[in-house]
């Protein structure tokens, strides 16, 4: 699938924003502390930038308001509705901290659940597509939710926690390590399944219905150049370098943050700096991970264009 920058930015930034809001909404951080106020601001900013990015790839963004109407059948619509529904109590909580130095735990729990539901809806946009077997699994929302919370935990720990934390920095670092291991563990299973599943049950034979004669091979494309379908669904650059990019993702998104956080436990003096660098590394890793999520996904329509063996001139 075509890895549109707008969609990658949307899913990673809003995911991190909801993750940070999730942590704050559970009551972490003294509401009167400046760092907590900044934290709320950054969470809202990440969510807002993410949602704005999501409208950038639209052909007619001026009609985007219509996307709130079909929540009964469409996960994209549900995502939009949940984002708006979450935005109001989230803003109220943020305003309570920023303006009134107060916090309400009941409202906080509600917001935390709604943040999780919004991220779940985002993931289900992709997980609900039967045409992309590597996405069409319960592992997809699990990956999105775990990465959202991991990013939120690390951002809170590095930038907003130490000055206002309700727990000691040491416990937060250990918590972040647990999140990192669990999140990448879930992603590991997703990745392994994704590599094995390919086009799922569909083949060039089932796509053409001609398998009863023999094996099917594309002889001629509808026309010589690429088209909307091959540009959108037949992206191949990432598939070629999939193994290398996956290694880079694990290195930047997992190994570096884990090493830096372990180091932070050993050298408390440097903990602030180390966890900040580790968090930034995680965010870069998540960006590459999300790019791969789209770019390596095989879409059923690829079977009409020769499957993995085809020579696609565009990209």
């Amino acid at each position: 699938m075509h890895p549109a920058l707008s969609v990658i930015a949307f899913t990673t930034l809003s995911g991190a924003g909801y993750g940070l809001a999730f942590v704050l909404a559970l009551g972490h951080g003294n509401p009167a502390a400046l760092s907590t106020k900044l934290g709320w601001f950054v969470a809202l900013l990440l969510i807002a930038i993410g949602l704005l990015c999501s409208t950038l790839h639209l052909g007619n963004p001026q009609r985007a308001w219509r996307a709130f109407s079909q929540w009964r059948s469409s996960w994209l619509s549900r995502e939009g509705v949940m984002a708006v529904l979450t935005f109001f109590p989230l803003t109220v909580l943020a305003a309570m901290s920023v303006l009134g130095d107060t916090f309400n735990l009941a409202l906080g729990y509600a917001v935390a659940i709604m943040c999780g539901l919004t991220v779940y809806c985002t993931a289900m946009i992709y997980a609900s597509l039967r045409t992309v077997p590597s996405w069409h699994t319960g592992w997809t929302p699990a990956v999105y939710l775990m990465f959202s919370m991991t990013a939120g935990t690390l951002i809170y720990l590095s930038f907003f926690g130490p000055a206002s934390g309700t727990m000691s920095n040491r416990i937060w670092i250990m918590l972040a390590l647990v999140f990192l291991v669990v999140a990448w563990g879930v992603k590991f299973f997703w990745h392994r399944r994704s590599k094995a599943v390919g086009y799922g049950q569909s083949t060039q034979e089932s796509a053409t219905g001609l398998g009863h004669i023999g094996s099917v091979r594309l002889l001629e494309r509808p026309h010589m150049t690429g088209n909307y379908l091959t540009n959108e669904m037949g992206f191949r650059v990432a598939r070629k370098h999939e193994a290398k990019l996956w290694f880079i993702t694990l290195l930047v998104g997992f190994a570096v943050p884990v090493l830096l956080l372990l180091l932070a436990l050993l050298v408390p003096m440097m903990a602030g700096f180390l966890s900040m660098v580790g968090t930034l590394s995680l965010l870069v890793g998540l960006f590459v991970e999300r790019w791969l999520f789209f770019a390596t996904a095989r879409h059923a329509v690829g079977l009409y264009y020769g499957g993995d063996e085809a020579l696609v001139p565009s990209d």
């Binding site: 699938m1 790839h57 639209l58 052909g59 007619n60 963004p61 009609r63 985007a64 219509r66 996307a67 709130f68 109407s69 079909q70 009964r72 059948s73 469409s74 996960w75 994209l76 619509s77 939009g80 946009i125 597509l129 039967r130 045409t131 992309v132 799922g200 049950q201 569909s202 060039q204 089932s206 796509a207 053409t208 219905g209 001609l210 009863h212 004669i213 023999g214 094996s215 099917v216 091979r217 594309l218 002889l219 001629e220 494309r221 509808p222 026309h223 150049t225 690429g226 088209n227 909307y228 379908l229 540009n231 959108e232 669904m233 879409h299 059923a300 329509v301 009409y304 264009y305 565009s314």
Partner: protein, 267 residues
């Protein structure tokens, strides 16, 4: 409304004969011609005369080569000349107007819908935001974005022809069907078991594309007929060609005279 109708009164669709299609692309061109000037936004092209032309088309022909896995009397993978059922198949593909159409249910705005009266899947372009999710949900590549208008385009089954009383009755069928010089495309109600198209599907063993995707496509494809060897199944054609039993008058007299006996039509 993007909820699918529980049932449709009719299931209008196409039956495409893969035995007959010669891959001339006339349906492709006539589809583009009719639909760029009819229903909704024009079907735009980008860089049409340049080095890398692209554009929105609602009907495309792919060509596939099918090789039997183990040709009879030959080594595995060794294919020389005509090998049993090995063949090239031209494969026209447009919207299959699925009964369980995922492109409709994923639409966030209600622009995509399936008509309860005849089962046609349409896009209300004034509501389309051009997010492209419906194209992602379609296994068949039936939907293509019009890059100029920023809205999704798809086969309408020529809804502006089939119900158009301004047209002659013979023209009230989809442009691709009307134009096909080989008669490889058929239009009708696949929900009626006694319609011409349903009978054709029954007789020829029509099938669904990618049934495992669970979309229940309405359009059906007819498989290529089995190959026949030269002369196979045809009675002595030479004997038929030489049968002059119907010759009468002057030609009959010449026939009798040259045959050397009085019996008309003898060899």
């Amino acid at each position: 409304m993007t909820l699918l109708p529980a049932a449709t009164n009719k299931k209008l669709g196409l039956v495409i004969d893969l035995d007959t299609c010669v891959g001339c692309h006339a349906c492709v061109v006539n589809c583009k011609e009719w639909n760029t000037s009819g229903y909704g936004a024009a079907l735009s092209d980008q860089d049409p005369y340049g080095a890398n032309p692209t554009g929105a088309w609602l009907n495309r022909i792919h060509t596939f080569e099918i090789t039997p896995d183990k040709p009879k009397g030959q080594g595995e993978g060794e294919v020389i000349g005509v090998t049993d059922e090995a063949r090239v198949v031209h494969f026209p593909k447009s919207c299959l107007h699925c009964e369980d159409a995922p492109c409709v249910t994923v639409c966030p705005t209600g622009a995509s819908y399936k008509r309860a009266e005849d089962g046609i899947v349409l896009v209300e372009e004034d509501k389309c935001i051009g997010c492209g999710l419906c194209a992602w949900s379609c296994a068949y590549g039936a939907r293509e974005m019009d890059i100029a208008a920023g809205v999704m385009k798809k086969c309408t089954l020529c809804i502006d022809r089939i119900y158009n009383e301004e047209l002659e009755e013979i023209d009230r069928q989809p442009a691709c069907v009307r134009t096909c010089p080989a008669g490889a495309r058929h239009f009708g109600d696949l929900g009626d078991p006694n319609s011409d198209v349903s009978l054709l599907v029954k007789e020829r063993g029509g099938f669904d594309l990618m049934p495992e995707q669970g979309n229940k496509p309405v359009n059906k494809y007819l498989p290529p007929r089995k190959r026949t060897r030269l002369g196979e199944g045809t009675p002595a054609t030479a004997a038929i060609a030489d049968d002059t039993s119907e010759a009468g008058g002057l030609l009959g007299w010449i026939d009798r005279a040259l045959s050397g006996d009085k019996r008309k039509g003898a060899r």
